[in-house]
Amino acid sequence: MEFIMELGQYMIANYQELLNLAWEHILMVAYGIGLALLIGVPLGVIAAKVNWLAPIILSLVNILQLIPSLAMLALLMLYFGFGFKTVVIGLLFYSLLPIVRNTYVGIKEVDESIIEAGVGNGMTPLQLLYKIQFPLSIPFLMAGIRLAAVIAISVATIGPYIGAGGLGKEIISGISLQSDVKIYAGAIPATIIAILADFILGKVEQKSKKRMAA
């Protein structure tokens, strides 16, 4: 009980700083996922369209996912230096797998008869992609973004080890100062952000599914 009081006092006293760290955390994740979308969606489309490239692209992003997050960030740090930018690149790599895979699966899942109907209407392959296959794959893509967001929020917590900010800063200084209050002051907001992101993106995903069904 006493601990909760202490934690509450600490969080109220430092709320400005905690808010800044949380904002930085969210910003890193948003940039990382934004870049992953820019690169991952075209990669997924290529994998779905060019059959022989699909196994290469998919296993490549799969291997990226296998690299332990701490090691990935550390290796990137050697080339890109300390700080925000490096973490964003790391998050981009980590978010690629769910986004590429789900774009690929989404496009592959489009019903043959719908595509036939499109071809029958005289659509070119590019029109087919833009007007039919891609819009129909959006619910899958949304599920991928949701997964990517949860992973990215988790990986971003390691950012302070390579000189970036974010809520991990509070947790890590808590670990090294052996301050339970600091640990929880970082861990609780980070957890809340992750759970909220999962919940909100889950709702968006359901909505996009419903729109497809309608």
Binding site: I67, P68, G168, I175, A194
Partner: protein, 213 residues
């Protein structure tokens, strides 16, 4: 070329401690994997048998929340409770491994054709015999792929256990960040990936053998 020579010299110099880190890593991962398999598979089997859907979705939600918590946050939360070192790392990684194992075992048990179960009932199997002799063998492919995926993840997560003083290859990476030593970071990352790939291969082989039986 020079780089390669330097790297070989690095190994010659440090192979004993690298080997220790690796052993520690494997030890932590295996402990977590075994504990989670022993605990989660019976839990999942029990969940398929329970009548109350509320309790079932409650358990799934809890496992889902653990999975959502950032890894370091979960590891750090354990420190005030269990201190630093081996135990908190095991507990945190176990909570992390719950969901993938639970989900795979559960969907494996759910995929069983009810007619098979009915036939077993008709032949006078008790419910325990049914689970051991009929249902688990049928669900085995799902369960094995769950174990495989989870074990590979556990190897990767264990790297983070070094942050709360549990050791393992993460220590090598952390030391590498501290000394700005490329070789250390690279070796830690590389070995963790190799262990994960070997484990994936071994479990895939076991999986194929078991399914053929």
């Amino acid at each position: 070329m020079e780089l390669l020579q330097d790297y070989i010299a690095f190994w010659a110099d440090k192979y004993a401690s690298i080997f220790d880190y690796m052993l520690e890593h494997v030890l932590i991962s295996l402990t977590v994997a075994i504990i989670s398999i022993v605990f989660t598979i019976p839990l999942a089997v029990w969940m398929t048998k329970m009548k109350s859907t509320k309790l079932r979705s409650f358990i799934f939600n809890i496992a889902n929340i653990f999975q959502t918590i950032p890894t370091i946050a979960l590891l750090a939360i354990m420190i005030p409770i269990f201190g630093i070192g081996f135990t908190p790392a095991i507990v945190a990684l176990f909570l992390y491994a719950l969901l993938p194992l639970l989900r795979n075992t559960y969907s494996g048990m759910e995929s069983i054709d009810q007619e098979v179960v009915e036939a077993a009932k008709g032949m006078g199997f008790t419910s325990f015999q049914r689970i051991v002799k009929i249902e688990l063998p049928i669900a085995l492919p799902y369960i094995m792929s769950g174990i495989r995926v989870t074990s590979v993840y556990i190897i990767s997560w264990t790297t983070l256990a070094a942050l709360i003083g549990a050791g393992g290859l993460g220590d090598l990476v952390l030391a590498g960040i501290g000394y700005n030593d490329t070789f250390m970071i690279f070796t830690g990352a590389f070995l963790a990936i190799i262990i994960a790939l070997i484990l994936d291969f071994v479990l895939a082989t076991v999986e194929n053998k078991l399914i053929k039986l």
